[in-house]
């Protein structure tokens, strides 16, 4: 791609009195993509984000924004906004004042501000919460305020540091969908930090796998999943079944010759997708009860569980289960909506 990357980190290193948080990072972030920094705790994800936002100065190396060197530009002059992990809302302001903060600094007139705040509240599904104080909100609601507060400034790049880290699984799923919708709707660049590989796989255009302050691999979710560059990446991403599918609408997906309920959304109707199912999430049931029918091809004992390969609907399914079915048995398999993970399809060039 010849297009100028919106953000470029060149040979960036950062040292906190002895701990090398980042070791010579080189990273290109393309305009409008959803890029995820993925890695275990302490690998330098937050540090990378803080260098892009301007809260931290790299010891060596440069940061470019649309081709301009911004290494020494203070945060308040950068065209990026951050959603902090712990929300960092202003406790002495209500929801509307929090969201309006960036615009009041730009001295925008009150009418425009009110209009934009209303739009933002609509976008993050918080209509009617204007006057509420932020400490009376639930975690998920606070997170939405934080997102709205950042987005109202119409940043070119939105940085999100584990924005869903403090939420429970169900809320997390819901917010993932909403974030993807917002990304698509606004068409801006998202730089997302998470240590949850599933979240990274389902949400991103590009994943950057990090470890100990270095980048292990950069690629699309499919590339990272199918062709992990090294054992660390392979291990970190984990084993899964991936089959092609099609989103019929939110929460309904077609693959392996039938429709499945799922909990993902934010894709276009009838968009081609990849469906990921972890081997341990496939349940073995009787043939009549199964959503899909198939035949056990092979069985391997793996210590705690059995690994069975089942041929069904034209695919080889890897199944992990503590119960064993002998080779040749005809069985049914069943997958719960929660266990179906939808991945954006990589554009085939």
């Amino acid at each position: 791609m010849s297009e100028e990357p919106i953000i470029r980190l060149v040979n960036v290193s950062k040292d906190y009195d002895g701990t090398e948080a980042l070791k010579n990072i080189n990273l290109y972030i393309r305009k409008n993509e959803f890029l995820t920094l993925l890695g275990p705790s302490g690998c330098g994800k937050t540090t990378t984000l803080r260098i892009i936002a301007g809260f931290e100065q790299p010891d060596t190396g440069e940061v470019f924004f649309e081709g301009k060197n911004i290494t020494n530009i203070p945060p308040y002059k950068r065209k990026v906004n951050t959603v902090f992990q712990r929300y960092a809302l202003f406790p002495h302001m209500n929801v509307a004042e929090n969201i309006a903060f960036g615009l009041t600094i730009k001295k925008m007139d009150k009418k425009t501000i009110d209009k934009k705040v209303a739009e933002m509240l609509e976008l993050v599904n918080l209509k009617g919460f204007e006057k509420r104080y932020v400490d009376s909100l639930s975690g998920g609601q606070q997170q939405r305020v934080a997102i709205a507060r950042a987005l109202i400034n119409e940043p070119e790049v939105l940085l999100l540091d584990e924005p869903l880290g403090a939420l429970d699984l169900k809320l997390r799923k819901g917010m993932q969908i909403e974030l993807k919708k917002i990304h698509k709707y606004l068409g801006i660049t998202f730089v997302y930090v998470t240590h949850d590989q599933e979240e990274a796989l389902t949400m991103s255009d590009t994943i950057v796998v990090m470890k100990d302050g270095t980048i292990q691999q950069i690629g699309t979710p499919e590339m990272i999943y199918n062709e992990p560059k090294n054992a660390f990446v392979a291990d970190f991403i984990g084993e899964s079944n991936i089959v092609p599918g099609r989103m019929i609408k939110d929460n309904l997906v077609y693959f392996a010759g039938r429709e499945f309920k799922c909990v993902d959304g934010g894709f276009g109707d009838n968009e081609e997708v990849d469906v990921v199912v972890r081997p341990e999430d496939i349940k073995l049931v009787s043939e009549e009860q199964g959503m899909l029918q198939g035949k056990v091809e092979s069985v391997t004992f793996k210590g705690v569980h059995y690994e069975m390969m089942v041929r069904s609907a034209g695919y080889e399914w890897m199944i992990h289960s503590t119960l064993m079915e002998p080779v040749g048995t005809r069985i049914g398999i069943s997958i719960l909506p929660n266990d179906i993970h939808i991945m954006k399809k990589v554009s085939t060039k």
Binding site: P74, Y76, F84, A88, L89, K106, R149
Partner: protein, 274 residues
Amino acid sequence: MKKTWYSYPYLVWMAIFIVVPFLLLLFYSFTASTDQGIVFTLDHVKRLWDPIYLMVLLRSINLALICTIICLIVGYPVSLILASKEYSSNKVLALLFVIPMWINFLLRTYAWMTLLEKDGLVYTILEFLHIPNTQLLYTDQAVVLGMVYNFLPFMVLPIYSVLTKMDKHIIEAAEDLGANYITVLRRIIIPLSLPGVISGITMVFMPAVTTFIISRLLGGGHYILVGNLIEQQFMVVGDWNFGSAISFVLMVVILISMGIMRKYDKEYEGGAIW
């Protein structure tokens, strides 16, 4: 609230050193011993309604207010510097600020007397700068100086502690949204540090309005504040009733000012120390 045995020593302490003295104060303020025995009276409190005494009370409040304002103007930036990134890791500066508090209050005030007196250090420096014959000691300014010097740490410490506990991410969030340092200060740091400011104001104003040592030493014998007036009634005149009555009125004045502060503080989330 559940009371447990280990709170009893504290309750006993409170009873002996707070409740009993307070009851005695009330008793002396509103009673007189006449031929008919002890009777209730408002005479002592009414006696204070005399221009001479009112002037003393007003002057005390006035000086205490000036002292509090100066402490705030000086103390807030000092707290900001102490709590800033550059110094918060380095406790030396904060320590330097606290060390004078370890020196006896009287000694510190006597030290100022020698500094300010005729032919003292400050006097000599002023003379050297061709500002001769300035009366330094035994003036309003000297009293305010002594108060500010002695009470400044009581302003700085609560503000400093609120500032250091402030979530740094909130400040970063404001910067991230386009606020420069001045705006962050005005819209985030100052509003969020108000509980500390209010504690500081309280902790400076209260001792300042009741002080009698500073006004005696730096204001000279002729200089009377309400603290001196009370001390005189007890130690010199021996009129415990009138002394108690003044103390009582002063207490009411302080309570009212606390109430006003507190009402103001309530509009923000409170965390002050009373």
